[in-house]
């Protein structure tokens, strides 16, 4: 038996809303600042911005970004 038309519409809208929510979650996650250190032996560390070490790393990175400036337009 075919589903009622309003059910089809609701399912579609729910699907789009789920997709949009997932997109926004991914976008938020990828936009979060991060600082990662990798060591020769294969170890890696993540430093959050609200820690002392993380804060210092972000300050140092900010200076480098300032030195590099904007990419000249072609």
């Amino acid at each position: 038996m075919a589903p009622k038309p309003h059910r089809v519409l609701l399912d579609r809208v729910s699907g789009y809303a789920d997709e949009a929510a997932a997109y926004m979650r991914r976008r938020r996650a990828s936009r979060r600042p991060f600082a990662r250190l990798y060591f020769a032996e294969g170890r890696a560390e993540d430093h959050a911005a609200d820690t002392e070490a993380g804060g210092e790393l972000f300050v140092a990175a900010g200076r480098l970004i300032e030195v590099a400036g904007k990419r000249p337009k072609a």
């Binding site: 991060f34 600082a35 020769a40 790393l57 972000f58 300050v59 990175a61 480098l64």
Partner: protein, 143 residues
């Protein structure tokens, strides 16, 4: 340097050429610098003095935060991304737009430093020949 290797003296001209090639190849790159084992700037896309100071500061902070010498640093901020790498007694730093491909950027930086250290600049990036020509393929096969 983190890896403990020492590189032969790298000429500034070779480093400049490598940096120019990297800049040309990487659409996301805003600026970059190559430093020797002592922290002196061999090539930079801006003020060498500031690159030297800020690179030294970044590595010092990273070493302190990690409790030992770091090999790679990757920091992503709202303003851009910073990549730093020590390899073969040299160091390279790159600042890119946001969402640059990290593995590709580190691969390029590592190849660049390895080629510079072995005194074969741009070996990895050499695409001067037509790689698709039958003649070149035959040469690669040893035919």
């Amino acid at each position: 340097m983190a890896d403990g290797e020492t590189s032969e003296a790298v000429s500034g001209a070779a480093a400049e050429a490598a940096l120019a090639y990297l800049t040309e190849m990487s659409p996301d790159l805003r600026g970059a610098a190559i430093l020797d084992g002592a922290g002196a700037v061999l090539a930079a896309s801006g003020e060498p003095g500031r690159w030297r100071e800020d690179a030294a500061a970044l590595f010092a902070v990273a070493d302190r935060a990690g409790g030992g010498p770091v090999e790679q640093v990757h920091i992503g901020t709202q303003q851009g991304e910073v990549f730093a790498l020590r390899h073969a007694g040299l160091a390279a730093l790159a600042v890119t737009e946001r969402f640059a491909l990290a593995s590709l950027t580190f691969f390029d930086l590592r190849s660049l430093l390895r080629d510079l250290a072995t005194d074969k600049p741009l070996r990895t990036f050499d695409v001067s020949g037509d790689v698709k020509s039958p003649k070149r393929r035959g040469a690669d096969d040893g035919a």
